[in-house]
C-alpha cells in the first residue's frame, strides 16, 4: 500500500493554495448510539483549549440506536459562534448516510471515511466517492487500527471506541494539540485512568498511522490562538446552566415529566441539588418529583407555589400544550410558578431533537380566556443561569407564571461561557402577609385588592396562624376579597387589575439590549439563541454597505423601549426561528402603531439560524 493509494488529489490541484486557518467547519457523520458524542466533544474541547473560537451543534435523531447523526464543529478565528450550514471537512463514518455526506462536501473540501477491508470483496465505501474528484479524500483503516489496541477492547465497546480513530486522524490532519485531546478525555472520563488510557491510546495509534501514511494536502488548518477567551471561560450547556441557576435561586420544589430536549434540566437539578442543597445531617432543602405526566407536573408546582415554595418545571412544546389549563389557573388564581420551555420543533410531536422558537406566541398567551404570561428569553449560558434564579423573583413579585423560553440549541449544545456571577440581589419573595402583618392591619385585607395600584395584590400562605389569613383560591370568578362572584363589575375590575399587573411587569422585566452604529439605516430585532448568528449577520450586512442597529428582547410583555426603538427606523427586521414570525406578530399586536415598520425574517427548518441565510434574506428585502 503506497501513500498515493490513501488519498486522491483533486482535479483542481490546490497544493499551492494558501492555508485556511481557523475558519471552516467540520461535520462528523456517525450512527446514533455508538458513543460518537464522546469523540466529538473531545475534539470540541481540545479546540476550545487551543483558544480557537468554536461552536458545536449536535444534529441528532429521535432515536437511541442506529439512525444517522451529525455533529458540526465550527472554528472561527473571527469569533463567530453561530451555526454554519456548510462544512468543508466531513468525517463520514456512517454508511447509511454516506452518499448524502459525500455529496455535501463542497468542492475543495475534505472527506474522511473508513477504508474498505482489503480482504473483503465488498468495496462498498470507495465506489460512492468515485465521482468526487474535486475534493480531498483521506481513508482510515478503522478496524485495523482498533485491532492494534493493546489490551484489546471488549467486543461490546469496539464500536464505541472506534470513533477515537477519527479523533486521532482529525488531530493529525488539522493540527489539533494532542495534549489538549488527552486533557479533554481526562475531563470526560472524570480522571478514570483505564478509560483515558484506552481511548487516548487509540487516538495516538490513529494519529501515528496518519503521520506515517497520509500526506496532508488540503488547505484547512487549526492553530492555537492567544487571549481569545478570558480567564473565566468554560464550556457548558444551557440546561445545566438553567438548573444551576435554579439551585442558586433557592428552588424548593420541582415536578417534571421526561421530554426531549428538557429532561436534562431536571436531571441536572437533581445532581446540583444533591451536591449543594443538603443540610449537614443530609436532609434536602428541596424536593424533586417525577410526575405521571405534564398535567400533574404543573399541577404539583401550582400547589407548591400556592403554599409558598419556589416551584418549577421544565418541559417542551407538547408538554406546554398539556399544561395550558393549569397555566390559566395559575394566572387567574395568581400563583407563582416557573416553567422552562426548552423549545423543539412543532407543530405536534414535530421533531423532538431539532431546535426552534416555535412556542413564543403559544406560551405568551397560554390557556383560554384573556390570559397572558411573562416570558423570559435567555440568549446564552449566562442568561440561562441568571434567569434560573431570577425567574423565581419575577414569579413571586408578580404572583404569576413565568415561562423561560430556551431552546434545544441553547439547552443541549455546549457553548462557550464566562463563569457565572453569583446572584447580585437577595431573593424577592413578593407581597406576602404574615400573621403579624395581619394583626397590624386588624385582619382587614382582601386577596385581590390592588392596594398599591400596581395590579399586584397581597397574599397569605396556608399555615399562617391568624383567623383572617385564609382565602379561597379558585379559577372561578371572584371579587377583590376572593369570594365567588358572577357580578360583571367584579369580573371586569379583576381583568383590568390583571392587565395592570402585566403593564407593571412590562417595565420591570429586563429591558432590551441595544447596540447602535454610526449611519444605520435599519435595525435587526431578535431574541434568544439567534444572537450568535445575528452578530455575524451585522458584519455581513456592513460589508455589503448596509449599516444596521441591533436590539435583543429579553422578556415579554415587551418593554416599551422595544417600541420606541422600532419607531425610530423606517423599517426593522425581526429575526426568529419559527415559520410565522411569532414575535413580530406579538409586537404588531402590542404596538399596532409600529406594525407597518416590521419585516419578518423567520425560518423554521430544525437548524439554528445561520448568519448567511439571515444576511441574504435581509439584503434581498433591502433590494441589494
Amino acid at each position: 500500500m503506497t501513500v498515493i493509494d490513501l488519498y486522491r488529489v483533486p482535479a483542481n490541484h490546490v497544493h499551492d493554495q494558501g492555508k485556511i486557518i481557523n475558519n471552516f467547519s467540520f461535520k462528523i457523520a456517525t450512527r446514533n448510539g455508538t458513543g460518537s458524542q464522546t469523540s466529538n466533544n473531545t475534539i470540541l474541547r481540545a479546540l476550545f483549549r487551543m483558544g480557537i473560537p468554536i461552536n458545536g451543534k449536535n444534529l441528532f435523531p429521535s432515536n437511541i440506536y442506529g439512525l444517522p447523526t451529525w455533529y458540526h464543529i465550527r472554528v472561527s478565528k473571527d469569533g463567530y459562534m453561530g451555526h454554519r450550514n456548510e462544512s468543508e471537512v466531513v468525517v463520514a463514518y456512517n454508511f447509511d448516510s454516506f452518499a448524502k455526506d459525500v455529496a455535501s462536501v463542497p468542492a475543495g473540501g475534505v472527506l474522511i471515511y473508513p477504508m474498505d477491508d482489503p480482504d473483503s470483496n465488498k468495496k462498498k465505501w470507495d465506489v460512492i466517492t468515485t465521482s468526487r474528484e474535486d475534493i480531498y479524500i483521506y481513508r482510515l483503516p478503522v478496524d485495523q487500527l482498533v485491532g492494534r489496541l493493546d489490551p484489546a477492547p471488549a467486543q461490546a465497546v469496539k464500536e464505541y471506541i472506534a470513533n477515537m480513530v477519527y479523533v486521532g486522524a482529525v488531530a493529525y490532519l488539522f493540527n489539533i494539540d494532542m495534549m489538549q485531546i488527552e486533557a479533554a478525555l481526562g475531563y470526560h472520563f472524570e480522571g478514570k485512568q483505564k478509560l483515558i488510557d484506552q481511548n487516548y491510546g487509540l487516538v495516538k495509534i490513529a494519529y501515528e498511522w496518519c503521520e506515517q501514511n497520509l500526506e496532508k494536502v488540503d488547505p484547512y488548518m487549526c492553530q492555537a490562538m492567544e487571549h481569545t477567551y478570558g480567564p473565566n471561560a468554560a464550556l457548558m450547556d444551557g440546561n445545566a446552566a438553567a438548573a444551576l441557576g435554579a439551585v442558586f435561586g433557592g428552588m424548593q420544589f420541582t415536578a417534571w415529566y421526561p421530554i426531549t430536549p428538557s429532561s436534562s434540566v431536571a436531571e441536572e437539578l437533581q445532581a446540583f441539588s444533591a451536591k449543594y442543597r443538603h443540610t449537614e445531617d443530609g436532609k434536602a432543602t428541596y424536593a424533586i418529583l417525577q410526575a405521571e405526566d405534564e398535567l400533574a407536573a404543573i399541577g404539583m408546582i401550582v400547589g407548591a407555589g400556592w403554599a409558598g415554595a419556589r416551584s418549577m418545571t421544565a418541559t417542551s412544546g407538547p408538554g406546554i400544550s398539556l399544561m395550558a389549563e393549569f397555566a390559566g389557573l395559575a394566572y387567574f388564581a395568581e400563583v407563582p410558578i416557573v416553567v422552562w420551555d426548552i423549545q423543539r420543533m412543532g407543530p405536534s410531536t414535530g421533531l423532538p431533537t431539532r431546535t426552534s422558537q416555535g412556542d413564543v406566541m403559544f406560551a405568551h398567551y397560554l390557556s383560554h380566556g384573556d390570559t397572558r404570561h411573562i416570558c423570559l428569553l435567555p440568549a446564552n449560558m449566562e442568561e440561562c443561569f441568571k434567569f434560573g434564579w431570577q425567574a423565581f423573583d419575577y414569579a413571586e413579585q408578580f404572583q404569576t407564571p413565568v415561562f423561560v423560553l430556551s431552546d434545544l440549541d441553547l439547552g443541549m449544545n455546549l457553548h462557550v461561557t464566562n463563569k457565572f456571577e453569583y446572584p447580585t440581589t437577595h431573593m424577592q419573595r413578593g407581597k406576602v402577609l404574615t400573621a403579624a402583618d395581619l394583626e397590624d392591619i386588624k385582619g382587614n385585607w382582601g386577596r385581590f385588592r390592588d392596594v398599591d395600584n400596581d395590579g399586584v395584590a397581597y397574599r397569605t400562605l396556608p399555615g399562617t396562624d391568624h383567623p383572617r389569613a385564609a382565602y379561597f383560591a379558585r379559577g372561578t370568578g371572584h371579587n377583590a376579597n376572593g369570594k365567588y362572584s358572577e357580578d360583571p363589575v367584579d369580573w371586569e375590575e379583576n381583568l383590568q387589575r390583571l392587565h395592570r399587573k402585566m403593564e407593571t411587569a412590562r417595565q420591570q422585566l429586563p429591558a432590551p439590549i441595544i447596540q447602535q452604529v454610526e449611519g444605520a439605516t435599519t435595525a435587526i430585532v431578535t431574541y434568544g439563541s439567534n444572537e450568535y448568528a445575528v452578530f455575524e449577520t451585522l458584519d455581513m450586512l456592513a460589508a455589503q454597505g448596509v449599516q444596521a442597529d441591533y436590539l435583543r428582547m429579553m422578556a415579554l410583555p415587551a418593554h416599551l423601549d422595544v417600541a420606541e426603538f422600532i419607531k425610530s427606523y423606517d423599517h426593522v427586521y425581526v429575526v426568529e426561528n419559527n415559520f410565522d414570525g411569532q414575535m413580530a406578530n406579538i409586537l404588531c399586536m402590542d404596538f399596532p402603531e409600529i406594525a407597518a415598520k416590521i419585516r419578518k425574517v423567520a425560518r423554521c427548518n430544525g437548524l439554528p439560524l445561520d448568519a448567511q441565510w439571515i444576511s441574504n434574506t435581509i439584503l434581498s428585502m433591502e433590494g441589494k
Binding site: 432543602t285 399541577g299 404539583m300 400547589g303 415554595a309 397569605t460 383567623p467 385564609a470
Partner: protein
C-alpha cells in the same frame, strides 16, 4: 341565653362554618360537610393548618361550605391530587382535606387518583360518590351502574369502576367506604382518616337528589338504607399502651395508628381483616358483584412510607426555610464552576 359550647381551643361550633351551601336541598354532600364541621369542632382542629383541596364539580364546591378559617384551593377538573401533592411537599405540616367526586376522581382524574395512591401522600381524600355529573345536569359518571336509567341521561351501557378496588390495586394505605346518610360512621371514619399517615380514601355514597335518587340506583338514599353491609365498628382508645387495649380475639381487632394511638375494630357482618389486602379485595369484589354497599374501614396499612418520608426533606417545612438555607454560598458556585471544562 345559655352559654355557647366551646371546644378545647376555645372555638365555637360556628367558628368551623363558612358560606351557606348552594347545592340542592337534600344533597348528600351537605350532610358530609356538616360531619366535617362536627369532627373539626369536636376534635378541636386548628383550621390554620388545614388546607381544603378540590377539583371541579358539585362535590368540589363544598369546601366553600365548611372551615372558613382554612386556606382552600378549588383547582381544575380531576387534578386536585397533583395540586395537593405540591402543597403538602412544600409544607408537610399542613393537613390536607380534599373533597372530590366520582367524575372528578373516576373519570377525568383517574390517572392522578391512581398515582396519588402510589405515592401515599399524607392527606384525607373524600369522594362524594353519586354516580352522576350534577353541575352539567345528570350525565353518567364512571361509577354509575351498568344498565342504570336516569330521567336525563337515559340508559348506561358500561360497567362501573369501584374506586375502593382501584385504590387497593393502586397501592392505597387507607380505604374506607361510607354512606352520607350514616352521619355517625362518616364522623368516625373522618376521625380515623385524619390520624392516618398516608393517603386516606373515604368513598362516601352521597345521593344526588336531583339526578340520581331513583330507588333502583345503587347511589340512592333508598339503596344506601337497604343494601348496606357495615363491616366494622370503630372505637378509639385513649392510650398508647398496647397492653391496656382490651379485646376479644376474633371479634375485636386492635390497630395502632401512626401517631401511636390505638383503635379497635369490631367485626360485624363479614369475617374481614382490614389489615389484610386479600381480605379487602375479596370483600370489595363480592360487594361489587352483588351491588351491596360495604361500609366501614376496608383496608389499612400503617407501615408504608409516605412521599414526604421518602423525599427526606428537612423537618422544618420547605416554605419556612430562609434564604440563607436555600441559596448556596458563593464558594459553592465557584465549586460548580470549577467542575466545568475551562479554557485554561
Amino acid at each position: 341565653m345559655g352559654r355557647t359550647k366551646t371546644n378545647a381551643i376555645g372555638l365555637e361550633r360556628g367558628d368551623y362554618s363558612y358560606n351557606d351551601s348552594t347545592l340542592c336541598p337534600g344533597c348528600g354532600h351537605n350532610s358530609i360537610s356538616n360531619q366535617i364541621m362536627a369532627v373539626a369542632f369536636e376534635e378541636s382542629l386548628d383550621q390554620h393548618h388545614i388546607i381544603k383541596m378540590s377539583g371541579i364539580g358539585c362535590s368540589s364546591k363544598s369546601p366553600a361550605y365548611f372551615l372558613g378559617r382554612s386556606h382552600a384551593f378549588n383547582s381544575v377538573h380531576g387534578r386536585m391530587p397533583s395540586v395537593t401533592t405540591g402543597a403538602v411537599m412544600a409544607n408537610h405540616t399542613l393537613h390536607a382535606l380534599a373533597v372530590s367526586g366520582d367524575g372528578d376522581t373516576g373519570n377525568i382524574g383517574f390517572g392522578q387518583f391512581k398515582h396519588l395512591m402510589r405515592r401515599n401522600l399524607p392527606m384525607v381524600y373524600i369522594v362524594e360518590n353519586n354516580g352522576v355529573y350534577g353541575l352539567t345536569k345528570g350525565q353518567f359518571s364512571a361509577t354509575a351502574d351498568k344498565g342504570q336509567k336516569t330521567k336525563y341521561a337515559g340508559h348506561n351501557p358500561f360497567s362501573p369502576i369501584d374506586l375502593c378496588l382501584e385504590a387497593l390495586i393502586g397501592g392505597a394505605t387507607f380505604i374506607a367506604r361510607s354512606f352520607s346518610g350514616d352521619a355517625k360512621q362518616v364522623r368516625t371514619l373522618l376521625k380515623l382518616a385524619m390520624s392516618h399517615r398516608g393517603t386516606a380514601l373515604i368513598d362516601i355514597i352521597s345521593p344526588c337528589v336531583t339526578f340520581n335518587d331513583r330507588d333502583d340506583s345503587t347511589k340512592s338514599y333508598h339503596w344506601g338504607k337497604t343494601h348496606r353491609d357495615i363491616l366494622n365498628e370503630i372505637g378509639f382508645v385513649q392510650t398508647f399502651d398496647e397492653i391496656a387495649v382490651e379485646y376479644d380475639e376474633g371479634e375485636v381487632q386492635p390497630v395502632q395508628m401512626h401517631d401511636g394511638t390505638w383503635i379497635t375494630l369490631k367485626k360485624l357482618t363479614a369475617d374481614h381483616d382490614p389489615t389484610n389486602k386479600e381480605s379487602a379485595f375479596r370483600v370489595l369484589n363480592e360487594a361489587h358483584s352483588t351491588q351491596q354497599i360495604v361500609t366501614g374501614l376496608i383496608y389499612i396499612n400503617t407501615d408504608q412510607p409516605t412521599v414526604v418520608d421518602i423525599e427526606n426533606m428537612t423537618d422544618e417545612p420547605l416554605v419556612h426555610l430562609p434564604e440563607s438555607r436555600l441559596r448556596p454560598s458563593q464558594a459553592m458556585l465557584e465549586d460548580a464552576m470549577s467542575s466545568l471544562f475551562a479554557a485554561n
